[in-house]
Structures are given as C-alpha cells and as structure tokens.
C-alpha cells in the first residue's frame, strides 16, 4: 500500500474514527503477583526467579494481596464499580516467554467495571468510558540476539503484576488518545500504582480502531494495532491507520478485520503474521486459585487511604492558589512536580511566581536532562531561597536563572553560589556611578543618539553597564545612574 500522508478536509468531514485503547500497566509492588520474588527493574537476568515464576512442574500461585490493593486503587481512581467477587482464569497460548503455557488473567469476572476518566483537548472536556480493569501476570522478556540465531529469555519479569485497562470506544482522534494516555499515566502515578514508563515497558498500549461514516452509530470493521512503543508511536500509528481505513472506505474497499503491527522504521502499520491472528485462548477458571472476595469493607479501606486524584489537585490549585487552569494542568501532570510546587509555596507563598519558575525552568531542565524530579538534587528550599534573593534585590532574574541551573546540576544552596561567585547585585551607588560615567564617556555615538531623542539608546547604555558588571547591576539603579551621568556630562559642557 502506498504511503499516505494526510486526508483532505472533505474525507475528514465524511468519516469518523472510533478508537478504544487497551493499556497494560505494571504495578509497583515489591514482590511478584503469585510468588515472593522481588520485582526490581534492571537486575541481572534470571536472578529474581523461583519455581512458581519459572513455571516448574508442581509449583502453585499464591495471590499477592498488595497487588490486589494497587489494582483496586487503580480501578477506584478510574471510577469503576467493584464487584463483590472476582476470579482468575487461564489464558492458554504457547510462547517462549510464557513459562506455564498459560497466563493467569481475569476473563469474565474482572476486578473493576464501568469506569471513566475525563480528558481535555483544546479546552473541551470529554468523558472516556473504562470498560474494565483486570489483573494479570507479566511474561518473561525475550532478548533477541543479534544475528538472529537464538533468543534469550529473562524470567525476572515473569510474574510481575499487571493490570489491563480497557477503554470504551469513545476516543475519536489521535490527540484524544494521547490525552487519554496522559491522564491515565497521571492517575496511575498519583495513585502510586505504577511509574508508567513506556520506555521501560511499565506502560504499554494497544489500540482498537475502526472508521465509519460520520453521523452513523454503527461500528466499522475493527483493526487492532500493536507494537506502539512510545507516545509518538501511538499518535503516528493511529494517524496512519485512520488515513488507511478512511481511504479504503471512500474507495469502496473493505477493511479487513485483523491485527496490525506499527512499523516504527517505515512509519506504517502492517498485518501481523498468521499465527498472531485469531487466537483461541481457551479461557477457563484458574483451578489453582480460589475466587477473590472483594469485601466492601476492604474496598472502602483501600478507597479511604487513596491519594488525591490529579483532577482534584488541579481544581484545588486553581481554587486555593489562584493559578490559571493551564498552570494547574501543567503542574499537576506529574505528582512529583505538583508536590514540589506545593512544598515551595509553603516556604515562599507566591504561587504564580513559583509556578512560572517551575513551568519555565524546572520542566525545561528536567526535559533536557531526561530525568524525573526525584532523580535531581533540586529541593523546594532551593527555589524558595532563589525567589527570595530576587525579591530582596540580591540578584536579578538573569543571574537567578544562571544560579538555578547550577543548583539543578549540583544541589548547592543558591545563596552559597551567589556568595562564592560574587554574583550579588551591585546596589552600591558610588561604584555603579563610576561605571555609568565610564560608559557615557566611552560611547559618544550612543550618547549623541540619546540626546537627539532616540530612547532606544538608553537601553544600549544600560546594557553596557550590565555588561561591565557581568550582569550584577541592579537594572533600575543602573538606568537612574546612567541618566545621572548623562546629566553631569551635559552640565560640564
């Protein structure tokens, strides 16, 4: 199929994509879901294994209660109904990364059903339904050795607890899909359910997508897209598939019901090979586990100890700190960032100023460094101190930015850096006047321009003072003193 770039407006108006997402999230428990092996990421291969997670003959699963609690948290945060009882089933298929030849999952009695979350795209808030949240176990990790002669398996990952979150087909655009994933990630992080790192595989996303003529409510032929391993891939994969299916429909061609893989290199989706198609998983109730009673008292206890949801926090930031909705959204996307904001405001009660610092500088530096906030030495005390140094006139904003980069890099106190590097603003009138006089004397052209009414020349002269003081001059004082020096010069003439 030819490469497709975009759809013209007419086709876009005529056809509507219908998208549902299936998201797998690894739960951040200390031990695996059916054995007591640790779940530390990045350990030496096959060191966190036991008879249970290796699927040795005779080994039996025992459900990790903590995993259930985290799954419940996730389901409750997504406004799901929790049934009084759920059960586990075996999903049977052969694959080398599946030690038992079946995955313990939940089929017809999941842990949570009928939930929703809200997304906001271009200022419009939409509610996306959550069909179900169920628990299952992670598979081992296949490592394909270069050269393609063999594959290595790391069973450290086998048995790590997962939840699968299945949305209703309520999503209409790739942007909405992205917003849905962002919100989901945010919720999972807030609930301390998962770190949701797509690059480490702790969040994975498959999509079901069909296209139909706008205005109908019949569903088109469903295509499943797999192997979208980044946020960008999800967006690109959906965009590609919408175009492909829309073109087929407008040409009167049928869409084939199939599973397709996103090919990152070629930027296309392509049909998955035959055996990945049409699995008959032969689900049946897992006889090694008893049905799991979800006692309402237990569920209530889990609910009572749940952290605040991102939506709640956003609303609180607007209400209590008087922040614009946009600021609240940016700050609250990551609970660590939101927490940093609140801790800083507690020390330095100027919310908008703190918000500006975080949105402009903190997030930029984090993004450049590719690090989570917790991995940097930056502390709320640092930012509060820096803001105060600016307020007190000790440093100006330009210097503050430089100091902040250093604080971010090595975690030293801003006042210490300012003192050590002699960055304190020069507010000493006599010293600055001396500099101003030299600048006025040394730039006759600019002085001439200023005198002939070109106000811009003043900016140049002040800039020269700043330059001479390496930016440490108090800008207002510098302006006043340049004016004073100019007046002196005129008096002498």
């Amino acid at each position: 199929m030819a490469h497709v770039e975009s759809l013209d407006a007419e086709l876009q108006a005529a056809y509507e994509p219908v998208i549902g997402l299936e998201v797998h999230v690894e739960l951040q428990t200390d031990s695996k879901v059916f054995c007591s092996c640790p779940t530390t990421f990045g350990a030496e291969p096959n060191t966190q294994v036991c008879p249970v997670c290796l699927g040795l003959p005779g080994a039996l699963p025992v459900l990790n209660r903590r995993a259930v609690e985290l799954a419940l948290r996730a389901a409750l945060a997504l406004h799901c109904t929790i049934p009084p009882e759920c059960k586990f089933d075996r999903k049977n298929y052969f694959y080398p990364d599946l030690p038992k030849g079946y995955q313990i999952s939940q089929y017809d009695q999941p842990l949570g059903v009928n939930g929703w979350l809200e997304i906001s795209v271009n200022g419009e808030v939409r509610r996306i339904g959550i069909r179900r949240v169920h628990m299952e176990e992670e598979t081992a990790k296949s490592v394909h050795v270069a050269g393609g002669t063999h594959t290595l398996l790391d069973f450290n990952r086998a048995g790590v607890p997962l939840i699968e979150i299945v949305s209703e087909p309520d999503i209409r655009t790739p942007e909405e899909a992205r917003a849905y994933l962002n919100e989901l990630q945010s919720i999972m992080r807030y609930m301390e359910v998962s770190d949701c790192k797509m690059e480490e595989g702790s969040l994975r996303c498959d999509a079901n997508i069909s296209v139909r003529p706008r205005g109908t409510d019949v569903l088109g032929t469903l295509v499943e897209i797999k192997n979208m391993n980044s946020w960008r891939a999800v967006q690109k994969g959906l965009e590609y598939e919408i175009i492909r299916q829309t073109r087929l429909l407008s040409d009167g061609e049928p869409v084939v019901r199939e599973t397709r893989h996103w090919d990152e290199g070629r930027g296309i989706t392509r049909p998955a090979r035959g055996k990945e198609e049409a699995h008959d998983y032969r689900y049946f109730p897992e006889p090694d586990l008893v049905p799991l009673a979800l006692d309402p008292a237990w569920v209530a206890e889990v609910k009572a100890t749940m952290p605040e949801l991102p939506a709640e926090r956003r609303a609180r930031f607007v209400r209590d700190f008087g922040l614009p909705a946009y600021d609240a959204e940016v700050l609250c996307a990551d609970p660590a960032v939101a927490g940093f904001f609140e801790a800083t405001v507690a020390l330095y009660p100027q919310p908008k100023q703190v918000s500006n610092w975080i949105m402009k500088d903190v997030l930029r530096l984090l993004n450049d460094a590719g690090l989570p906030l917790a991995a940097t030495p930056l502390r709320p005390e640092h930012l509060a101190e820096l803001c105060r140094l600016v307020d007190q006139g000790t440093i100006n904003l330009t210097v503050a930015r430089q100091v902040f980069e250093e604080v971010f890099a090595n975690g030293r106190a801003p006042a210490e850096i300012v003192a050590e590097k002699g960055l304190a603003q020069i507010s000493d009138e006599s010293a600055l006047l001396k500099v101003a006089r030299e600048v006025v004397a040394g730039n006759p052209d600019a002085v001439k321009n200023y005198r002939s009414g070109k106000e811009k020349a003043m900016g140049f002269l002040v800039g020269q003072v700043m330059r001479a003081t390496k930016g440490r001059a108090n800008p207002e004082l510098a302006t006043a003193l340049v004016k004073k020096a100019l007046a002196e010069q005129q008096g002498q003439e």
Binding site: P51, L56, P57, L60, R282
Partner: protein
Amino acid sequence: MSGISPRDIRGLGATDIAAALRRRELTSVEVTQAYLEAIGAGNAGLGAYLTVDEQEALAQAREVDARRAKGEELGPYAGVPVAVKDNISTRGLRTTCASRILENYVPPYDATVVARLRQSGLVVLGKTNMDEFAMGSSGENSAFFPARNPWDPSRVPGGSSSGSAVAVAASLAPWALGSDTGGSVRQPASFCGLVGVKPTYGRVSRYGLVAFASSLDQIGTLTHDAAEAAALMGIISGYDPADSTSVPEPAPDYPALLGREIRGLRVGVVREGFGEGVEPGVQEALRRALDVLAGLGAVMGEVSLSMTTYALPAYYVIAPAEASSNLARYDGVRYGLRASNRSVTDMYGRTRQAGFGPEVKRRIMLGTYALSAGYYDAYYKKAQQIRTLIKNEFSSALQSYDVLVTPTAPSVAFRLGEKAADPVQMYYQDYFTIPVNMAGLPAVSVPCGFSGGLPVGMQLIGRWFDEAGLLAIAHAYLETTGWHRFRPEPAVSVAGEAR
C-alpha cells in the same frame, strides 16, 4: 546390631519398625538397608521404582540414627523409610512423572509433603513408577516399563499410583505416597490388597505435586493397615500457605481418633455398586464385608447415587481440559526434553511429539477440544454443572448416612494388555472412584477379601474432612477380619533372606 533379619524387618510394617527404632532395637540404617536390598533384588521383576537413591537414603538414615544417639527429640516415625510417587517433587532427585518429557528433570525444590516427610525424619527410598502424568488405571502407561502386581505378575497393579502400590504390597517399602485424581490411589490399593486414602480436596498440600487436573488432584497414602494410614496422613496433612486451595485448618490427630465407636454408625450401601458391570467375585466380597460392618453394630441402609452415571463423562471433560493447560509448560524451553532447535514451532511440535505417550496426547487433545471457542458451554461448562449436581447428591446422601460404601473398582486386577487397546473400557475402572474426586470428598479403599486369589477393595466415602471417621471404620473392620495381614508370595527371592 539387632537380631532381626532383613526379611523380618520388612515383615514388621511401618508401625512396628517405628516402635523398634524408638526402642533402639533397630537402626534406621539397618531398616533402610533391608529395603534397599529388597529393591535391588525385586524391583527388576516388579517395576515398582523408577529411581532409587541409595546414597541419599542411607545418608538420611544415618542422620536420623545420629540424632537419636544424641538423644534429640524425634518424631514417632523418624527413621522409617517411605516411597514417593514420581509426580511428587523431590529436591535433587529426578522426578519424571514416568514421562520421556521429564526423563532427566531434577526439581530444585521439595513438594510440601516431601518437606513434611523429611521434617518427621522419614527416609525417602526412591520414586515410584506410575502411569505417565498419572493418566491411567493400570500402570501400563508408564513411558519406561509397566509395574506388575505382586499377587500375580502377569496382572496389572492398577494405576496410576502403580509403583507405590507395588512397592508397599511387595514390601519394597513400608508405606508410600501416591496421588489420586480419579481413583489413582484407591484402585491400585484395591488391586494390591492395601489401604489407600484419598483425602478431602484441600486437606493435603498440592504444592510440588506435578499437576494433572488441579481441581481433582490430591496426594494420598498407600499402607497395609489403617493405623499406618492414620500415621502417614498425620504427617502429610494440614494447611499450606503455598497452596491456595489448601484448607486453613490443622489436620486432626488421626492416630488418636482410630478407636472411634462403630456401633450405631449409619452406613449407606450404594445400590449402583452391585450393578451389572461389577464382577460377581467383587460383589460377593463386598456383601461379606457389609455383613461384618453390620456385625460391628453399624446401621445399614441403601442409597442410590443416580448422578454416578454422569460422573465419568463429566470427568473426562474436566480432567483433560485442566490437563491440556497444565501440560502446556512442557515445551522444551526451560527444562525437560527439547527435541529440536530449528525454530520455536518446530521445537514445540517435536518435543511434545517425542515426549508424551499416546494416552497423554489423547487427553491433551480431548481437553483442548473441550475448551475451544464454541464448545466451552457444551462441554466444560456443562461438566461443571454436572459436578455441582454430583456434589449435591453426595451432600444429601451424607446427611442420612455417616459413610457410603461401594466397591473400589468393578473388578480385580486384570492382565497386562487386557484393556490397553480400549481406553473407554479402561476409563470404566474408575467408575466408583471418580465421583468422589468430582465432589472433593474423602474416601478410603480397604482390603475386603479375595476373588480368584486376587485382592478386592471396598470403598468407604465420608463427609468432607472426615478422613478420621473413615479410618476408624477401616481400622475396626480390618482388626475384625484381618484382611490386611495377607501378603503376596515373594515374586522373586529377596536378598538376604537365606541368611
């Protein structure tokens, strides 16, 4: 050194050996040696054991003797040897399930029951032969060699715990562990003249028992008499947090409850036990046994279990369905046989083709079919509904009666090869035992005489978790009749007995 000859040691039985060890008239090494010698001489002819770990067994025996010499507090059965069915995981000791696919598999861990045997100081002699993956009723499905009935080596010992039954019957072990999914402890016990206990589902931990049909499997005991059964049950029973289906209750003190009163006990004779499929010799032995129970003061009545007819077909949906999934892990990836390296698909196909025997393949196919899309409701779901009805029927019968009685098997031991060609005929061997597994109830097969020189077994079925009640009846019955005192003629001469 004691004055007891190896032959005499083996004639003592587990209880008396334990007593002699406690009185220090024997050492565990002497006892273990006596059995190892007997195995060395007799196993080739009978095929009871697949693996015998002489060195390790003697090391364990020496350890128990040393601890006893130091005056350490030991369990009452410390130093007594035991045989373990080869589908129960033993750390460092090959566990094959009598299958080519696990021919060289050595578990890195002990099953919970094995750990409990070791804690009690029992000495594991070796691993016993069986029908491959516990699928069979004759022992002929062993991938290596069939076990033979010591009462007549041209006949089968029953199955699937064939080797465990043979080992005990031929005094190649004082007692043994088996597993019972549809009759695999009770039917060989019946064929070999032993007491076979199938405990309530959840009473004994399944952790480490290589799964055949998880919702039906239960580890049980094979012994000469009810007192030994009570003792061994006491060692292996009880809650295990590693098995989610194990019942979180301590097991009762079985030996202490053996003397429970029989008089006034309500015994329900299951009418179907005298149906046309049951050999006259078996019926006759059973009738005499019922007379004995009546003579002991039991109140006899009759009950019909009409659902029994449907138990067999329902079992042959559920058990293969679970098996098809349980045996999926034998794929050549991590352990066991790997028959090809060409590609993943080729490895799966060739490994499973070469590794599984015909009966195992048959059941995997049956089960896969029953679980397939479009058939699930018609087969698996329907079978589960039947299972519920069977449970309900037993439940109501056990409200009127304390115990239900059937023959354990419809026949005595048949000849090797006699039923091998007809799987359905073979499946009928478990007609009376399967419903018990379907309901999760406890049952005991008790020797109740002979037909044509071959042992007959009576099955006692009790209420959930009432193994103690069943053992008390078995004990009273055997003490009265003495059927447990009979031993087969040694099939081959036993080393040392000439001394």
